[in-house]
């Protein structure tokens, strides 16, 4: 198990290194002057020179790369050109919203998907199954921003249970903060839960057709017991894969939902930074997202190994 984790960890480090190179080179290779690009057409020559100096464009590429990576390793992501604040500070503020939101949505989606998927699989072809599959079909089909606006109309404007948008901040206390994340989390979780429930169901159905389920039944296990004791864990591998992919998406892909609910999350930060041509912020946030995705994949790999002894290697 330890060797497996070390191997995965090594591939994580290598992936990050390659990613940092790709991000750096793509900005490097792009023709033209990044400073001129950031300032637009009507920039003054002395402003450009100052920015070039700030960006370190006067140094050689190797030095710039080592400065950038070295800075990130000690938490220094540079200073945003548009906001004139340290990028690390900005990212930290946004992560406080995006990370809890992603975790919240993922928890909801898992809590909905697991029972729904298992329930449907256990009652394959029966009305329960058909209803659950119908609902998940809808869940996949409905755009989440439309569903989000619908929820705002119902729960915020008519019933006044929630605020229509904005983030209360963690200073306001845990529950108010979570409350302001609830509607966005539900909106994000709905399609994810639908996909996950369908994956769970089909994976479980595949597993229930395996020979070892028949063996378990021949031992005297009931259908239910065979499902819970033998099928479920075997069905988890594809489900874990999807959960890993979904988390990565939730972290950075929540941009539309963040906009609908006016949440100051990472997605909006990237969007604003791209619009403002703030390459320093873009570069850093992209690197951070790559890190998050790679880290999640690493954790999913560890989860695979925890589930499946065959991946832990021979003793």
């Amino acid at each position: 198990m330890l060797r497996f984790a070390l191997k995965r960890l090594m591939s994580l480090v290598v992936t990050l290194w390659v990613a940092s190179l790709v991000i750096f080179l793509s900005l490097e290779v792009v023709p033209g002057d990044p400073a001129a690009f950031m300032l637009g057409l009507n920039a003054q020559e002395d402003t450009l020179a100052a920015l070039r100096d700030e960006l370190g464009l006067n140094k050689g590429p190797v030095e710039r790369y080592t400065d950038w990576v070295g800075g990130m390793l000690v938490g220094d992501f540079g200073t945003s050109y548009t906001y004139r604040t340290p990028v690390s500070r900005m990212i930290l503020d946004r992560v406080q919203v995006s990370l809890p939101l992603a975790l919240y949505a993922l928890t909801l989606s898992t809590l909905i998907a697991f029972p729904a998927g298992i329930w449907a699989a256990a009652r394959r072809g029966k009305p329960t199954d058909i209803v659950v599959m119908g609902i998940t079909q809808l869940g996949v089909a409905i755009p989440n921003f439309w569903f989000a606006m619908l929820m705002v109309l119902v729960f915020a404007i008519n019933l006044r249970w929630f605020n229509a948008g904005g983030f209360a901040g963690w200073d306001a206390g845990f529950f108010p903060a979570m409350k302001s994340l609830t509607l966005p989390a539900i909106a994000l979780a709905l399609p994810q839960a639908s996909i996950l429930a369908r994956v769970m169901r089909s994976s479980l159905l595949d597993t229930l057709n395996e020979d070892f389920i028949r063996t378990a039944r021949a031992k005297g296990l009931s259908r239910r017991q065979a499902l819970w004791r033998h099928a479920l864990r075997n069905a988890l591998i594809p489900v874990l894969t999807i959960i890993g992919l979904q988390f990565a998406f939730l972290l950075a892909g929540a941009i539309i939902i963040e906009n609908v609910f006016f949440l100051p999350g990472l997605g909006r930060l990237v969007f604003q930074a791209i619009s403002a041509r703030d390459l320093i912020v873009v570069e850093s946030v992209v690197m951070l997202l790559v890190f998050a995705v790679v880290l999640v994949n690493f954790l999913v790999d560890l989860a695979y190994a925890a589930v499946d002894p065959r991946l832990r290697g021979r003793r």
Partner: protein
């Protein structure tokens, strides 16, 4: 004492009749063998006793197991019987165990599900059950996972699970079909011993008459969901009445007539061939090791000869086949067809490739289901520089199909419209279409029922006479190799340990391994074989 009594059992699955008026019985301590080809309903009879039938199954008649009327019991009650009074062992040991649980957990589960006892006690008794199937704790601790065991060892674990509570009846559905001959012999001995020790009844299902003849006290022969004939083994084997039983007996020891005699000129020459595979590196910075799958193999095949290659799984048969076909490059040695090497530099030699074809084991997996037969059969044409087109191509397709006993009209059908035996004929037609000199038959008849297998063997013999074909016949089934080959090579751990005239090798094996293989292969008694040849 009658343990299991099945009376006029009929089974329909979603309206399709599967079993009709099946009656048989098993006494305590008795081994009853059920023989039949695929679709005969032998497995469904077993699953009816367990009541583990597919959805939509309707049983009628009577199944009585030590006083319980199985067909009248509730599912809860059946769960209490399964694993406790009646247990089952299945065909495919590689997939019959949960890969995520240790063997100890899985054996102990049988005990825990039926008895209120401590985990510690269940664990102890699981260890005892595993010891009884010859998996002692010092070598096979309870903490092993299935993937750490071989096929034969896994089958032992399945048997341990089945006998942990000393059931009255054990049902074994083709328990050794997926195993090598020597492993098969060990498992059969084990089952026999357990029956004797526990006085349990054994209902053993098999397609192999020789296996059952060797094991069973009583034989039941089934066809198309009905029992055609049954009786005590010794009497039945020597006094079969029903034409189907007689045909089955004849087919199971069928020797095709062959006329052609091999010429003296060698067609394929294999010299000192070595094939290494890299193994995973040891440690993070370790060097990858090598596994030598084929180790200095040399032999010739003469033109017109049928050469057999036998050996157990993992001995390097398939690797050698791939090397001969030029699918993989060898690390040392030469392979040449009529003096032409199969590999020139690092590229396969097309001129040689088009003179060799292969027929694989699986009549289901070796065809693209979306192509029509015409396209499937014409696949080897891509080896020709100037393949026939239009009418010439159709003529070639029709000719190939007709030579394997199908009709030209079959070219427009899809592969799912054919039975296993017909598919294997199509595979042979595909091999024949470019008129190769050498056809490699890689377990080509292993997946077929005995009567179909006999027909395909006849077809192969006939084709080799008509077209002067040379065969390399690779099989783990010694009786088939014996019936169709002139010479045989015995392979073990990548080496050829013995070779010679087939009859000589079988009658008087020299190498210890060959002797072991031949002793392990189940065979009908000599007087019964004689009877088989008379029919």
């Amino acid at each position: 004492m009658t343990l299991l009594q099945i009376d006029t059992l009929s089974l329909d699955i979603r309206g399709t009749p599967i079993l009709r008026d099946v009656s048989l019985s098993v006494d305590a301590g008795q081994i009853v063998g059920v023989i039949g080809e695929s679709g005969s309903g032998k497995s469904m009879t077993a699953f009816s006793v367990m009541q583990l039938l597919p959805q939509g199954s309707v049983c009628s008649g009577r199944i009585s197991l030590s006083g319980h009327e199985i067909l009248a019991l509730s599912e809860d009650h059946l769960c209490r019987l399964r694993g406790n009074d009646v247990s089952m062992v299945f065909q495919e040991p590689m997939t019959a165990l949960n890969p995520l649980k240790t063997i100890g957990e899985q054996v102990a589960e049988t005990i825990l599900i039926h008895e209120r006892t401590t985990a510690e006690d269940a664990r102890k008794r699981a260890a005892e059950a595993l010891r009884r199937v010859e998996l002692p704790q010092d070598r096979f601790p309870l903490s092993r996972y299935p993937h750490e065991l071989s096929g034969g060892q896994r089958q032992r674990v399945v048997i341990a699970m089945a006998i942990a509570l000393r059931p009255k009846l054990l049902i074994a559905d083709e328990p050794t079909t997926a195993l090598d001959v020597t492993t098969q012999a060990e498992i059969l001995t084990l089952l026999k011993r357990l029956v004797q020790e526990d006085g349990m009844g054994l209902l053993m299902i098999s397609h192999d008459l020789a296996v059952v003849a060797d094991m069973a006290d009583h034989i039941v022969i089934m066809r198309r969901g009905e029992v055609v004939e049954q009786g005590p083994t010794q009497t039945l084997l020597r006094g079969m009445q029903h034409p189907y039983s007689l045909a089955l007996l004849a087919a199971s020891d069928h020797v095709p007539d062959r006329e052609g005699t091999p010429q003296d000129t060698p067609l394929l020459r294999v010299r000192d061939v070595v094939r290494d595979y890299p193994t995973p590196r040891k440690g993070l910075w370790g060097k990858p090791g090598t596994f030598r799958a084929v180790d200095g193999v040399s032999f010739d095949i003469r033109r017109g000869e049928n050469l057999g290659l036998v050996g157990e799984s993992g001995c390097g048969k398939s690797t050698l086949t791939r090397a001969i076909l030029g699918l993989e490059e060898v690390q040392a040695g030469t392979i040449a067809l009529d003096g032409e090497p199969v590999f020139t530099g690092h590229r396969p030699n097309r001129a040689v490739r088009r003179r060799m074809q292969v027929v694989f084991q699986d009549p289901y997996g070796s065809f693209n289901p979306r192509h029509k037969v015409a396209r499937l059969v014409c696949e080897p044409f891509h080896l020709l520089d100037d393949p026939p087109t239009g009418a010439a191509r159709d003529r070639a397709t029709a000719g190939a199909l007709e030579s394997v006993g199908l009709s030209a009209g079959d070219a427009d059908k899809y592969i799912h419209e054919f039975s296993g035996g017909q598919r294997q004929r199509i595979a042979i037609a595909r091999a024949l279409i470019i008129r190769p000199d050498l056809i490699i038959l890689d377990e080509a008849v292993s997946a077929l029922d005995v009567s179909v297998r006999a027909q395909v063997l006849d077809l192969l013999a006939d084709l080799s006479d008509r077209f002067g074909l040379t065969y390399l016949f690779i099989s783990h089934d010694l009786s088939v190799v014996r019936s169709i080959t002139d010479r045989v090579l015995v392979m073990q751990a990548g080496r050829i340990v013995e070779q010679g005239e087939t009859e000589r090798v079988f009658a008087d094996p020299q190498h210890g391994y060959t002797q072991q293989l031949i002793a392990a292969a189940p065979q009908l008694p000599d007087d019964v074989r004689k009877l088989a040849h008379e029919h």
